[in-house]
């Protein structure tokens, strides 16, 4: 499934609004200027995700995973490669942390992921005028294949993944990450329909 240019632009614009809120929230939280670079958006079959992302996440992937339920349901994830996860944590907490993700670093990442995912999902919820409920976010460290396999278990209709790539810009550094929303065909259709409606209202 391929998005039309118009759908793509509209999605990117909407997500950018959510990102600016996320950036503001993270700046307030960490006391430093945090920006999220403008998103680029694509849609993939969930099974194709390893191919689409393998270039950026070669080894272990750190994912913050939140399940959302309601009229639109799916899995929302923030993906970072292990080094990126370490670097982002280091940038956000201005004190040296060990060369591995300790419990505190994991909590920090989970909170950051939670803020980002909630901003995006909350925005979709508002757009669709539906109430979406969220699970507690969880941080996992696993291979990309294992991660994708966990998205597919028992949920045959969760076939599409909306992939948003961005970068957290903190001080002079940038850490790339991906926001992935695995959705059923029905949920994705509804989302795209509402986005077109929203886009129509903008003119």
């Amino acid at each position: 499934m391929v998005l039309t240019d118009r759908q793509n632009d509209a999605l990117a614009e909407l997500i950018n609004i959510a990102f600016s809120r996320t950036g503001a929230a993270l700046s307030e939280l960490t006391g430093q200027r945090v920006l999220l670079s403008p998103p680029s958006v694509s849609v993939h079959r969930t099974t194709d995700l390893p191919i689409a992302l393998a270039r950026y996440i070669p080894g272990e992937v750190a994912s913050i995973h939140q399940v959302f339920a309601g009229p639109v349901a799916g899995d929302a994830l923030l993906l970072l490669n292990y080094e990126g996860a370490m670097e982002l944590t280091n940038l956000l907490i201005e004190e040296p942390i060990p060369d591995f993700l300790d419990e505190s670093a994991r909590e920090v990442l989970t909170e950051v992921g939670n803020i980002l995912l909630n901003a995006c999902l909350g925005m979709f919820g508002n757009l669709l005028r539906v109430h979406v409920s969220f699970s507690v976010p969880r941080l996992h460290l696993e291979s990309l294949d294992d991660l994708v396999a966990s998205l597919l278990t028992g949920e045959d209709d969760r076939r599409y993944a909306l992939v948003v790539s961005t970068a957290f810009q903190v001080r002079d550094s940038a850490v790339s990450g991906f926001l992935v929303m695995a959705l059923s065909v029905a949920s994705l259709d509804r989302l795209l329909h509402e986005i077109e409606e929203w886009e129509g209202r903008q003119h």
């Binding site: 907490i93 060990p98 300790d102 920090v108 909170e111 939670n114 909630n118 109430h131 979406v132």
Partner: protein, 405 residues
């Protein structure tokens, strides 16, 4: 005699509800706080009672933000608003430290129990009806992580200092090897001249002029070698702490004059002008006259050695407070700033290229320092670039003047 299925289900549901409630209220190893949609407290479990010092009867029905007004001050009320909007909020210890200001049970180094918190919306029929807050006490974990971090830092510092020590010992070894090479070269050079000219003298083929020149060369080289050997002996005495001073009352200006006379031929041969400034009516001091002369001679011949033809060397003797200062400045090549801290080390010359150009074992300044320190003084070297001329003060010496009664 089977019961209807619904009844079994409802019995089981009731049992499960009772068990969950009991666990939440009495047994949970976490703080569990429930509010309604107006943030009035509707649940406060035993864990919270025991740690916060507030009984559930004192908090139930009261507004959470009124009970803990600093939640607003610290902006944490926003997380509750998000939860009432249906979002889950995590509060990590690293960013927030704690949610509720509660004293830690142990680890008194922390003013508040360190907490990791989840605030979730409670929904009923798709509508948010309240919030559920789960609080974990992570004080111990945080303290352990800080401790671990400290240990990691100490270890990496230890590792770094071990590496440095190894590097230094390798450097010392290298210097000894280099020194051995230098010393065999330095001892052989005058010997070659002595043996060569002595052989020619014995052959009887030399005329009177050449014979006189041969005798002069042999004499000069024998002196040079005597100097090398006596330097080496001094270093050996210093190393074994056997260098002792013979203290007498010394007239420093005349010691300096004698030394100036001794180096005059050397300076003249390089057309170096030596200028001396000596304070008048200088008091006698207590010291070892021979060793003082050795100090000044070493500094002066060093200055002459490193000053190009036609340069100048300044010698100054003055009183500074209760001490005396001898400073010797030259217009020579100066000292590489990186080498300055090592100028007084044994067996050191700034690099082997200068050793080759200027000769010597690199022992002079180390002997100077030892001798000055035996006199309770201190020796310093400065080097600076003034315009295009590099100036080097070969050394300055402070001595406590002791006027003998």
């Amino acid at each position: 005699m089977t019961e209807p299925k619904e009844e079994v289900d409802s019995d089981r549901d009731a049992l499960l509800n009772a068990a969950v409630l009991r666990w939440m209220q009495e047994l949970a190893p976490q703080g569990i706080l429930l509010t309604d949609s107006a943030l009035n407290v509707v649940g406060w479990n035993r864990w919270l009672e025991e740690r916060s010092g507030r009984r559930s009867k004192d908090v139930l029905g009261k507004n959470l933000l009124a009970l803990y007004p600093d939640l607003i001050e610290r902006g944490l009320d926003a997380s509750y608003k998000d939860a009432l909007n249906g979002q889950v909020r995590l509060l990590s210890q690293r960013f927030h430290g704690y949610l509720l200001p509660i004293a830690p049970t142990e680890f008194k180094g922390y003013a508040h129990m360190q907490q990791s918190v989840r605030i979730s919306p409670l929904s009923h029929d798709g509508k948010v009806v309240g919030t559920l807050t789960i609080i974990d006490d992570v004080t111990e974990r945080t303290a352990r992580e800080v401790e671990l971090q400290g240990q990691i830092e100490i270890r990496s510092k230890l590792l770094a200092s071990e590496k440095l020590a190894r590097k230094e010992s390798e450097e010392a070894n290298r210097l000894k090897d280099e020194f051995l090479a230098t010393i065999s070269h330095e001892l052989r050079t005058p010997l070659t001249a002595i043996v060569g000219w002595a052989t020619l003298l014995r052959s009887g083929d030399l005329d009177a002029n050449a014979s006189a020149r041969a005798a002069e060369i042999i004499c000069r080289n024998a002196h040079a070698q005597t100097q090398l050997i006596s330097d080496l002996l001094d270093v050996a005495r210093i190393v074994s702490n056997k260098l002792l001073l013979t203290l007498t009352s010394v007239d420093l200006p005349s010691v300096i004059q004698m030394t100036l006379d001794a180096v005059a031929p050397e300076a003249e041969s390089k057309k170096i002008h030596i200028h001396s400034t000596i304070e008048p009516e200088f008091p006698r001091i207590s010291g070892d006259a021979d060793r003082l002369q050795q100090i000044i001679w070493n500094l002066l011949s060093n200055a002459i050695k490193f000053t190009p033809i036609g340069g100048t060397v300044d010698v100054r003797l003055r009183r500074v407070d209760s001490e005396v200062e001898i400073s010797i400045t030259d217009s020579g090549i100066g000292i590489d700033p990186q080498f300055l801290p090592h100028a007084f080390d044994r067996f050191r010359q700034a690099n082997s290229a200068t050793t080759r150009a200027h000769g010597g074992l690199g022992l002079g300044l180390s002997i100077v320092r030892e001798l000055v320190e035996l006199h309770q003084g201190s020796a310093q070297v400065h080097s600076e670039v003034t315009g295009r001329e590099q100036r080097l003060s070969s050394g300055s010496l402070s001595l406590v003047p002791k006027v003998r009664a």
